[in-house]
């Protein structure tokens, strides 16, 4: 299996995606941003479709749309009373735009399914290099602001009292999330990206009680899901995102059962 270059690329990309998703996911869960992550993935779909329409790499279109909108979405979602409705409105617009761009680009249906549901064979070595650069950038920034991000995510009242620049942190986090969504969408697709950015971390919080341990467990769950999903996809020729979704859902519900048994 690993003698095929496309599978090597898929495993390299998948490993990066799992690491980034596990780390970012812990903060997504702590900041209650699962829904926003889902919206960013739909914006990513519109961006990828725009990229195809413009004749660019879909990843570049995705990066453009998710990065710009991450800031706007953060501002719109600042007031909890209107957060869900604002985010739903933006999701609807993004999906509509995505469909429009695909239609204007006159691309075939396989392009659309590739963006929405991800693809194992669609990842080139050049894509992998681009993903490495993006992932390393996200990791470096997270490491530098790690303690601030930890405080603001797990105790926003304490962070505010301490005088941390919480608003700026929030914007930085959303931009990092936009990068992560764009990277992760390459394999699992924009429709299912929130699986990797939420479920492993949501499960990890039942097994670990420090932020560092939560990140380790979330990365482990993501890696198992991606590696096993890629293998099963190769063997069965079924979509990789299906297997990743099933594996991560099993992890999540097992974590809930484990928590209930301990209580």
């Amino acid at each position: 299996m690993l003698s095929y270059p496309f599978m090597q690329n898929a495993y390299m990309a998948g490993t990066l995606i799992a690491i980034i998703s596990g780390i970012m996911g812990v903060f997504v869960i702590a900041r209650n941003m699962s829904f926003l992550t889902h919206t960013l993935s739909e914006i990513g779909f519109a961006g990828a479709a725009f990229g195809i329409f413009m004749g660019w790499q879909p990843l570049n279109g995705m990066l453009l749309f998710t990065t710009i909108s991450s800031i706007g979405v953060g501002e719109l979602g600042a007031k909890s009373s209107r957060r869900e409705n604002s985010i739903t409105a933006i999701s609807a617009l993004a999906i509509g735009l995505g469909i429009l761009f695909l239609s204007l680009a006159d691309s075939n249906a396989s392009y659309a399914t590739g963006i929405l549901f991800g693809s194992v064979i669609g990842i080139s070595r050049a894509n992998v290099v681009q993903m490495v650069i993006l992932s390393v950038s996200v990791l470096v920034v997270v490491m530098v602001i790690y303690r601030y991000l930890k405080f603001d995510s797990f105790d926003p009242i304490g962070a505010q009292v301490k005088g941390l620049w919480t608003r700026t942190l929030s914007v930085i986090f959303l931009v990092l999330l936009a990068f992560s969504v764009s990277v992760a969408a390459q394999i699992v697709g924009s429709l299912l990206i929130f699986i990797l950015l939420t479920l492993p971390a949501a499960a990890a919080k039942y097994f670990a009680h420090t932020v560092g341990m939560m990140i380790s467990v979330a990365v482990a769950f993501s890696l198992i899901g991606v590696w096993l999903g890629l293998y099963l996809s190769y063997v069965t020729n079924w979509p990789v995102s299906f297997f990743i979704a099933v594996i991560e859902v099993i992890f999540y519900f097992s974590a809930l059962v484990y928590q209930r048994m301990r209580a």
Binding site: Y146, R147, Y148, F154, I157, G158, A159, K205, T210, G212
Partner: protein, 231 residues
Amino acid sequence: MTESILQLKQLSFAFPDKQVLKNLNYDLKRGDFLSIVGENGVGKTTLMRLILQELKPTSGTLDFLPNRQAVPVGYVPQFRNIDAEYPLSIQDFVGLNFAKIGVPWLTAKERQRVTEILTETKLFNIRRRPLGQASGGEKQKAYLAQALLDRPSLLILDESTASLDPVAKTELLDLVKQINENQQLTVIFVTHDIPLARRYADHYLFLSPGQYEAGNISDLTNEKVGEMNNA
């Protein structure tokens, strides 16, 4: 003479539709245990937000002495969004307050300080317990430990005992009083509970609509409370 660390001069604050504080003067000395009392809506929380610099005075001044940087403030609120599924251990929660840019992990010295403060607040034996599963009193002690971690000069307890049972209230305030006396920590204790204020505070600042009164805690008699509330 004990030095002042916070001076309020003719301090006033008004929201667009309501005057809350008017010409408030107070000189807070280092090592004092000041209780701020008064009914709901008289401006206790507004005053705390002014001290925490979340609001700016409409007129008058509020000055830290010799300057703001010289008076680090620790704040313990009544509530935090900590539900039963909150995952962090008490130890990890307390350590959050060592927030700085750069090295992601705590240094040996910082870890040692976390251990010290957990011991001092009697949380060391339950340090690995998830905060979400701690009792109300243990949670408040964890908030206190986090606020004390970087050695503040001024500690604000903002209705921090309001949701606690009598035993937990006493335990928490005994602890704060001990640190206040041993380490010259200045404490502002905001409360509705006049008997509790009498038991622990040195001075009081009684806020009532549009006016205030300050003095030694022994002068805060029931008659005075009645007079102020009816004024």
